[in-house]
């Protein structure tokens, strides 16, 4: 039983990262000892590499970040400090930097290397990311006093094998920027490096000292992590010195890479500080990040709403490469004027059509390549305005594919015409035409006397209901809605205007109302290849209640929104909305109890935009290829993708 309880700890999300930390030589022995104490099974002790990754070793791993929810008294101040990043010397900064390092993309690196690499970075990015907050001055001040100590530690510590070169490379890069330029002239490279190391060591020492001070250090884990961290750090420094020659060569590498991946990755992890900083440097839209983000959703971008619009408007004339049509669409996304998967996708494609129309190949450039690059930069602008939906991703893939496949023999005007008609055809066939087919299929499932429930304001479902009404079918509609968007009211308005009998309710009443429903029609933002439906938040709830009442759930989704990705929850990929939208109720000043609490460190708002409905709750997916069970989405994806490329 004891052995069964240990693994439980791993389930805790914070502790999961232990998988990345195998022991470096010195601390592995200690973990093993402790492990033997806790773990009654001798087998795990006999195989060290496995045991260090194993959950039992984890609770003692020196590098483990204290799980915040274990000592909740500690976490809140930490989080506040982390978000504010007010002072680098505060006790929180250490755990903050660690936490940030965890999701750093280098999953290919072996666990051991990653653990060490993370320490190196833990000291630097704070400095590089916050150039304005006095880090430079502090570092400069320390540089005079501490160099000796830094150097001594280097000599004392033995160097563990196989260090994270990538990490050191990044460090070098950031250091280079930090260094005052005057140093460069006087000192040799080695000297400069030594000074840097010293500065860093001093900083780390100051931090570590600070880390022991705070009164609330209930977690013994935290203190151990600090202790072990110290010996580990100089070792990396020494290694760095030894590979310094190599590093200088590598310096050119990352910056080039930077340029290449001009667009931020659509699924960028926003809790990875270094990447966020990089992305910000490139960003056109200066978004202020919201404070107090919910722990589990830190990897998603969340911005203060409404701050960037005026800023962007003033910038209009400075953004020379941006096409006005794209710019307009971006602003419309930003302000929420265009919402809904199809509307957003069509707007984007039409903007791209404009782009193609006004395009002329610059001299000595290839149309295919230059246009692709242009589209990429536009897409990255649109991402900054609002994260892409999966359907838009598919549409962009289509456009890029068409550009790439343009025969080189075509003249520019011909190529442009071909592209424009391709995009036009995509809009007509895959979006508008698909909706027609979906309506045709879905109407066959509506019988006289049905009570249909729908949630939110899916366009496809609206078309179905209107068409069924035109066919003189007798049915009733239940529109279920939810705060804060209240999109259902719009749908309700349009349905009532046509004379359809409707009932309007909020999602709170779903379990009461469900027993009289005969069919549930839902829309979807995307359908993933395991049959999961990714849709407006609340959809999963409706589908689950419906399936509990044994009411069939029909999801209407165009096939261009299908994606081969598999997603099991709505956490890893989602979109965060404006937190103010849920904290305030418009027109109800009397119940705005949260006024003035929005920046409180103890309060986080979570306004999720989407959720994932498991395929078990879905009876049927209606798509332009007919009515299919959720299990055969992969077949459609396969067939569709083939066709998609051939179109």
């Amino acid at each position: 039983m004891e052995s069964r309880r240990n693994p439980r700890a791993v389930v805790d999300p914070k502790v999961r990262q232990v998988g990345f930390f195998t022991s470096s030589q010195p601390d592995s022995s200690s973990t093993q000892q402790q492990q033997q104490q806790t773990d009654p099974i001798p087998a795990s002790a006999s195989s060290p590499p496995v045991s260090t990754i194993s959950p039992s070793g984890n609770s003692l791993s020196p590098v483990m970040i204290p799980p915040p929810r274990l000592n909740s008294s500690d976490t809140f101040p930490l989080r506040g400090a982390a978000a504010g990043a007010s002072s680098a010397v505060s006790p929180s900064s250490f755990s903050y930097s660690n936490r940030r390092d965890f999701p750093d993309g280098s999953t290919t690196a072996s666990p051991g290397r990653h653990s060490r690499g993370s320490f190196v970075k833990s000291s630097t990015p704070v400095a590089s990311s916050l150039p304005g907050i006095g880090m430079d001055s502090m570092a400069a001040a320390k540089s005079s006093s501490v160099p000796a100590s830094g150097l001594t530690t280097v000599s004392v510590v033995t160097m563990p094998p196989g260090l994270a070169e990538k990490a050191s490379g990044m460090e070098v890069q950031s250091d280079q920027k930090k260094n005052p330029k005057s140093l460069k002239e006087k000192t040799t490279k080695a000297e400069r490096r030594a000074i840097q190391e010293a500065q860093r060591a001093a900083k780390a020492a100051a931090k570590a000292d600070g880390g022991k001070v705070p009164p609330g250090t209930s977690a013994s884990v935290a203190s151990t992590s600090v202790k072990v961290a110290k010996p580990a750090k100089p070792s990396t420094q020494k290694n760095e010195v030894s590979v310094a020659a190599g590093v200088t060569e590598k310096k050119g590498g990352p910056s080039e890479k930077d340029r290449k991946k001009d667009a931020p990755h659509p699924r960028m992890q926003y809790d990875d500080e270094s990447r966020v900083v990089k992305a910000k440097r490139r960003a056109v839209v200066k978004q202020t990040e919201a404070k107090n983000r919910v722990e589990l959703f830190r990897h998603l971008p969340q911005y203060e709403h409404g701050t960037q619009l005026p800023d962007l408007e003033t910038k209009f004339f400075q953004l020379d490469p941006m096409h006005p049509a794209v710019y307009k669409v971006g602003l419309q996304y930003l302000s929420g004027d265009i919402s809904g998967g199809n509307a957003r996708c069509i707007a984007m494609l039409q903007a791209f059509q404009e782009v193609v129309k006004d395009y002329s190949t610059p001299p000595e450039k290839n149309l295919n390549r230059d246009m692709t690059a242009k589209i990429s930069s536009y897409v990255s602008f649109l991402i900054e305005c609002r994260p892409l939906s999966i359907s838009m991703g598919n549409a962009i893939r289509f456009v890029k594919n068409r550009i790439a496949k343009l025969p080189i023999t075509l003249s520019e005007s011909e190529a442009k015409a071909a592209l424009q008609s391709d995009i036009e055809r995509f809009i007509n066939d895959k979006i508008i035409g698909a909706d027609m087919v979906i309506v045709k299929h879905a109407v066959t499932k509506i019988r006289d006397g049905d009570v249909l429930l729908t949630y939110g304001s899916p366009t496809a479902v609206e078309m179905i209901l209107l068409h069924a009404h035109e066919l003189k079918k007798k049915f009733r509609v239940l529109v279920v809605d939810s705060r804060p968007k209240l999109e259902g009211q719009l749908l309700l308005r349009r349905l009532i205007k046509r004379g359809i009998s409707c009932t309007y309710t909020h999602i709170n009443a779903i379990s009461y109302i469900m027993h009289e429903v005969t069919k549930v029609f839902l829309g979807a933002s995307s359908v993933l290849s395991n049959g999961t439906v990714y849709s407006r938040v609340g959809t999963a709830c409706v589908a689950m209640v419906a399936s509990a009442f044994r009411v069939p759930v029909l999801v209407c989704c165009e096939a261009y929104k299908f994606h081969e990705r598999v997603q099991l929850d709505s956490i890893c990929s989602n979109e965060l909305g404006d937190p103010n939208a849920i904290s305030k109720v418009h027109g109800r000043e009397d119940i705005n109890y949260l006024d003035g609490l929005t920046n409180n460190a103890n309060l986080q708002f979570l306004n999720l935009m989407y959720d994932a409905t498991p395929s078990d709750y879905i009876s049927m997916i209606i798509t332009d290829y007919g009515m299919v069970p959720p299990t055969s989405v992969p077949v459609i994806v396969r067939e569709y993708q083939k066709e998609h490329l051939l179109v």
Binding site: K445, R447, D448, G449, D450, V451, R476, H515, E516, V517, T518, K519, P552, L554, S619, M620, Y625, G626, M627, V628, P629, T631, S632, V635, I636, E639
Partner: protein, 382 residues
Amino acid sequence: MWRRSPSFILDRTSSSPPMAADTTRTPIQNPDSISAYYQTRAAHHGVITSEWLSQAQAAVGGVVSGDEHPVSSLNELGNEKSFNVIEEFNSWRKQPDLAEAVAAIRALAAVIRASEATTMMELEIELKKASDTLKSWDKTSISLTAGCDLFIRYVTRTSALEYEDFNSAKSRLLERAEKFGEISCKARRIIAMLSQDFIFDGCTILVHGLSRVVLEILKTAAQNNKLFRVLCTEGRPDGTGVLLSSELSKLDIPVKLLLDSAVAYSMDEVDMVFVGADGVVESGGIINMMGTYQIALVAHSMNKPVYVAAESYKFARLYPLDQKDMAPALRPIEFGLKIPTKVEVERSARDYTPPQYLTLLFTDLGVLSPSVVSDELIQLYL
């Protein structure tokens, strides 16, 4: 269910008017509201014997030559096409061993043979019209609809046809039609072979309905000297189980006859359930003789596997959401006692079993899990 008032009301109203609407729309609709498909099934049940089956086995190969006559004679009459097709179809359908879909395929092949069209397009339109009349003739038969659709796909979806002159293209079409008919006949054999791995010595099999495929499976198992026991449900109102059990007893297979209501009682001793299917729908569920759903439910709750034996021409592009989501197939039911006129009688001949209650489907495409059905259908029709 009772709480869902609208569907309850709908059930009431639908029992009479929809049929009337159907008959007015299609003039060639069979006379009364009774499902032709189930009528033929019932008629066949009366005559299916081992002699019939052995004769049918022989017919698989040589049947074409023997029945050439009615085709030509009908053509000479020069009647309108729709009449022609249905007569043809009915003449084929009389053979008890010939599945409805195969009969339809043969009938459509005859249409090609008799056609006076001079272009491919004309022929295709003619074929389409013929299959439409066939389909509208008996809307309740899923395998008929599916067979027609499949045949049209199979015959017309070939790029090779475009390059040839009309006569060779036509003969090629006929070739394909013959081949398709043969494949359909062979399907039963293939399924019987595939299913042998699932029947182990000492097992007890519950069978519901009189399915020719299931009978073939059990017969093959007996020929392979497998030792097993069969429980047959009675199969009211046709008494299908009585017929099946008499067939099996001729093969020296130990058989026990059950009341339809005794399924749950005896499910404990059952190792697996075998059923046939009138149609396999896109969700992977099946439409079969009334009672299949409840047997599947009982078996599912007791963790017994439910195996379905169905030829691939029974795969239909249908997607019922629940029991009422199909065109009702009605048939007369005798209760023995006199029933007061105020009492309603549920006369539906079939029910829909959702895929989550099925374990595997034995088809001539292989042994499939229910979710694969949709994949096959998508690949076939898209």
